[in-house]
């Protein structure tokens, strides 16, 4: 990397908790706990972790969609709008937030089944979508825009005239991605867009995401628990555990020299062809985020646990350029 990459999205000590009041008692779920991240222009950033580790909540926060019971406890989220102006988006008014959505930052949800209105033909969905963002477009112009994009993405031509239930899961997911990329957003956020799809269809969807990214030169933030997908598409990967980023680095670094024991487990638990040796999954279960263990949240499952792990959460140390890891086992004495 010769040139310094420009940051497009940055969070600063972001804490977003679910605060639930039940019969007078308060339950706090620390879903995003002290996350610092910088995401650059023109890259695919992957976030990996088990279900229930706060990935989806982090995405909600990045999408600036923080609604109760999720609350922003502290920290800031900055978007870099118009190339050099950093804006703290948590302070924007609802109307300003709405304007940013889909035009500047768009969201690809997981369940494509529930995204598209089942009783409307897809062209109505397109009309709705474009009409609410680009004012003063005639119906013909809208369909022209939609058709042009459908042609570029290689979807069937007659797709505007069908109902969502007539499409297979993979096709629906591709239509959802097409909608999310229609207004050429600078950032696209995908929440497990390929989970629950077949391998062949998954490959097609990834192929399409890559193509969109190459065409638009924008940023894609992709969440999935499938490390194979990350290896195939991401430029950089952040590993999330119990609401925190525990390791971050380029795809080569993460797969080449994973340093955090959790990352090592994630990679080694995948079965490989030609190797029938016993493989074990990550031992134990993810911790409840309402009741996190003291110290490093991974310590009850960690095979290399030390005394300090039970008491204090390690800070990041930087074993290599652009590679950071929060673990007491790495970088003796260089924490903090």
């Amino acid at each position: 990397m010769a040139e310094k990459k420009r940051t497009i999205l940055r969070t600063d000590k972001l804490k977003a908790f679910y605060i639930l009041e039940m019969q007078g008692t308060q339950k706090i779920i620390k879903a995003v706990n002290d996350v610092d991240m910088e995401i650059y222009e023109n890259e695919i950033y992957g976030i990996a972790g088990e279900s229930g580790c706060g990935k989806t909540t982090l995405l909600k926060a990045l999408f600036n969609d923080i609604v109760p019971p999720l609350r922003l406890v502290s920290g800031k989220i900055y978007y870099c709008i118009n190339w050099d102006k950093e804006v703290d988006v948590t302070t924007l008014s609802p109307e300003e937030k709405r304007q940013l959505r889909m035009e500047y930052i768009s969201y690809i949800p997981q369940g494509s089944m529930s995204v598209l209105n089942p009783v409307l033909k897809l062209k109505e969905t397109y009309k709705d979508f474009i009409g609410s963002h680009l004012s003063g477009q005639s119906q013909e112009e809208i369909f022209e825009l939609a058709r042009k994009q459908i042609r570029v993405l290689g979807l069937p031509k007659n797709i505007l005239d069908v109902y969502p239930h007539q499409l297979s899961g993979g096709m629906r997911q591709r239509v959802t991605i097409a909608l999310a990329s229609l207004l050429k957003p600078r950032i696209m956020i995908g929440d497990e867009p390929t989970t629950a799809l077949d391998v062949v269809v998954q490959r097609g969807v990834i192929q399409m995401l890559k193509m969109i990214q190459e065409n638009l030169k924008n940023t894609i933030i992709l969440v999935t628990h499938d490390m194979g997908v990350h290896a195939n598409i991401a430029d950089r990967i952040g590993i999330m555990y119990a609401g925190k980023i525990v390791e971050e680095g380029s795809t080569e670094q993460i797969f080449g020299q994973p340093l955090h024991p959790y990352t090592q487990f994630l990679i080694n638990s995948l079965p490989k062809f030609g190797d029938k040796n016993m493989r074990s999954s990550v031992p134990g279960n993810p911790p409840s985020m309402a009741d996190l263990p003291a110290g490093c949240p991974f310590h009850p499952r960690c095979p290399h646990v030390k005394e300090i792990c039970r008491q204090e959460m390690p800070d990041f140390c930087y074993p290599d350029e652009n590679h950071r890891v929060a673990c007491w086992l790495v970088g003796e004495g260089k924490h903090g």
């Binding site: 088990e50 297979s168 077949d198 062949v200 490959r203 628990h225 490390m227 194979g228 994630l266 062809f273």
Partner: protein, 321 residues
């Protein structure tokens, strides 16, 4: 040879549309396979390939249009409810919809025990349940009185396996048991299948689209495509050296956890499932990279190459010689 389950020429047709637009889709087209005792047999393929239909017919949820199912040497018909007593149990895809979210999970266990009179006292029932939970790496204490939402997906899936084990089945039919479970916890389920096969001698019909776990766990595999078994043999032969172009595509499409092994070629996806189902010749002809003229008109026959069944015209010449 000893066969626990034998499926012969199983065909299931569904009709779609109204009187004017009716089309008949053959979801399973003369599917034949067998499962030996203490064996894990995988049925793999993409969604809409007929693997779940096959499982439903084998489980007796649907009646086959034609074909026979022989279990333990006995012909199965849907009317006689032989399945429950004969020890065939099912595990489904989504553990969260297997259990009612408003009921505690242990009630399902006690119900099964009561309905099938597996125990005569509560204490005996708890002992039995605890034994089955131990087999899947859980215990009665950590599960009693809890609701499904208090478990992770992997735990809940293991609980549903424990429930299936209550009747001491000889055959488990697992329909996509790991596709809703995190990749990091998948191995705990798959390892459990291995353990059940090795220690309890349970046979498993493992239905999946995830070839990596299929390779890891199973003994023999059948690849299905649009209602046909296109390739069948031992996992080493089928997955390490796939012969059918569709098996090759499936094998290549598994994302490898290695950034050096990224996909370089582009693929075309099928536009409509129905179109492929109604195709006259080989159903894969529309997407096959090695398509020949004969593929478009004539459906290929089953051909055996080195003990592996392959349904492809590419290999038909080798057999004639």
């Amino acid at each position: 040879m000893d066969k626990l389950l034998e499926v012969n020429e199983l065909t299931k047709r569904y009709s779609q549309g109204n009187v004017l637009t009716r089309v008949t889709l053959t979801a399973a087209d003369h599917v034949s396979f067998y499962i030996k005792p203490a064996e894990i047999f995988t049925l793999a393929g993409e969604s809409g390939c007929g693997k779940t239909t096959t499982a439903k017919v084998v489980l007796g949820f649907e009646e086959a249009t034609s074909g026979t199912i022989i279990h333990n040497g006995k012909l199965q018909t849907r009317k006689e409810k032989v399945w429950i007593t004969e020890g065939v149990q099912a595990i489904f895809q989504d553990p969260f919809s297997t259990f009612n979210p408003l009921r505690t999970v242990d009630r399902y266990f006690f119900e099964t025990v009561q309905n099938l009179i597996l125990a005569v006292s509560k204490q005996q029932a708890i002992e039995l349940i605890d034994r089955k939970l131990q087999a899947v790496g859980l215990s009665y204490e950590e599960f009693a009185g809890k609701y499904p939402s208090e478990f992770s997906g992997g735990q809940l899936q293991r609980i549903s396996i424990a429930r299936a084990l209550l009747t001491n089945p000889t055959l488990l039919i697992a329909d996509e048991p790991v596709s809703m479970v995190d990749a990091s916890l998948r191995m705990s389920i798959v390892n459990l299948f291995k353990k059940l096969r090795d220690e309890l001698g349970v046979s498993i019909l493992y239905i999946t689209h995830d070839l990596a776990t299929a390779y890891y766990v199973s003994d023999r595999i059948a690849i299905m495509f649009r209602g046909n078994i296109v390739e069948m043999g031992t996992v080493e032969q089928v997955l390490m050296n796939p012969r059918h172009p569709y098996s090759k595509l499936l094998r290549e499409s598994i994302p490898q956890a290695d950034p050096k092994k990224r996909w370089t070629t582009e693929i075309t996806l099928s536009e409509l499932e129905q179109e492929e189902y109604l195709r006259r010749g080989c159903k894969f002809a529309g997407r096959c990279p090695d398509v020949m003229e004969i593929c478009k008109g004539v459906a290929p026959a089953d051909i055996y190459v080195d003990d592996v069944l392959v349904k492809c015209h590419k290999y038909s010449s080798t057999q004639e010689i």
